[in-house]
């Protein structure tokens, strides 16, 4: 009998103790992928859907099944709502889940979401009974629209897929998380652990990443780092951080100091130009 996790991630009624969702792309060795997934502690991973070719194919599926990792099929590579609908239906049939990570991209250079097609596809997929995890831009208005259309989660990007640029607009991400009534998952752009922690500190419910781990020189070490970063960011977000201030506040007592000859010798800091804290 396992004790319930004190702070589970809830997605469409399902509970996860890990708030790190992993993509599976970017590693040529399935063995290393498995080690990285296990090190990350993830309980949910995305997969793509492609033509079966003999001698390959169900290995990834059996790897995930064997490790009890839930599968979230994506619609990567789709440019229109029509393509995304077919891919989503294939994913539901192949993987026996009505969850779908909906990606509708504008062009292959930026891989940025085409939000017009995305909103259209979300509406149609929700009507067909899908639970839509919508990969979107960091636009708070679009995130709000997706939620209105019935998305199960909104997944704004930190930066374009695979860039590792981190969170380019933390203000927007914070606006999205502060107003959302569905889970917000920071998806794409993460390069290193501090950025995953920042996503959680900005109020995200989870982080989804792939390249940061799978293309790292040591994927298993980075997966471990991400696991800790996401947990640390979550704890910090709920811990009530101190306000940033202009002047120092001593953490050691300022009384009971040994005598100085002249109290007027204590230097004052008011001569220094001070930058406004955040």
């Amino acid at each position: 009998m396992t004790t319930p996790h004190p702070d589970p991630l809830l997605l469409d009624g399902a509970e996860f103790s890990s708030r790190l969702i992993m993509g599976t792309g970017g590693l040529s060795s399935l063995h290393t992928l498995e080690q990285a997934l296990l090190a990350s502690g993830t309980e949910l991973t995305t997969v793509a859907l492609r033509r079966y070719s003999p001698g390959q194919g169900d290995t990834l599926f059996s790897l995930l099944e064997r490790n009890g990792i839930r599968i979230l099929p994506n619609t990567a590579g789709c440019y229109t709502a029509r393509d995304a609908l077919l891919t989503a239906e294939l994913g539901r049939e192949a993987l026996e889940t009505d969850w779908v990570k909906l990606e509708v991209i504008a062009d292959e250079d930026t891989l940025l979401p085409d939000v017009v097609e995305l909103l259209d596809a979300t509406e149609q997929l929700v009507a067909r009974g899908f639970k839509v995890f919508a990969y979107t831009s960091d636009d708070p208005a679009v995130a709000h629209r997706l939620e209105d259309l019935g998305a199960a989660a909104v997944m704004p990007l930190g930066a374009p897929i695979g860039t590792g640029l981190g969170i380019l607009n933390p203000h927007n991400i914070e606006l999205i998380t502060s107003r959302a009534d569905v889970p917000v998952v920071l998806d794409a752009g993460i390069g290193t652990a501090s950025e995953a922690a920042l996503a959680m500190e900005l109020g995200c419910d989870a982080v989804l990443l792939a390249s940061a781990v799978t293309r790292a020189q040591d994927p298993v070490a980075m997966a471990t780092a991400m696991r800790h970063a996401v947990a640390a960011g979550r704890l910090a977000a709920g811990a009530g951080r101190i306000p940033a201030r202009r002047h120092a506040v001593a953490s050691s007592p300022m009384t009971g100091l040994v005598d100085t000859d002249d109290p007027e010798d204590v230097p004052r800091g008011d001569w220094a130009p001070v930058r406004e804290g955040r």
């Binding site: 992928l33 997969v47 079966y52 194919g57 169900d58 599926f61 990567a76 049939e93 993987l95």
Partner: protein, 79 residues
């Protein structure tokens, strides 16, 4: 023989082949009438015929028809 396009390439199957036969042959794994592997476990595959998903429960009684474009899809690594 029946000429079709399978995963984008020309392919020929014997007359009276059904979708379940086609999938079982492609993956070298016997399938039951319900479209599930006879050796247990889940299959993790889907079939689209002329860009329409065909539920596995219908594979067994769906014949492969001359000229069809059939896709067999599975999970691969992806973000």
């Amino acid at each position: 023989m029946t000429a079709i396009t399978l995963n984008g390439t020309p392919h020929a199957v014997p007359e009276d082949t059904t979708i379940v036969d086609l999938v079982a042959e492609a993956i070298s794994r016997p399938l039951g009438p319900d479209g599930r592997p006879l050796d247990g476990g889940r299959l993790g595959m889907a079939v689209a015929v002329d860009a329409i998903v065909l539920p596995r429960s219908r594979w067994y009684r769906t014949p492969v028809v001359e000229g069809q474009s059939i896709e067999i899809i599975t999970a691969v690594q992806g973000g």
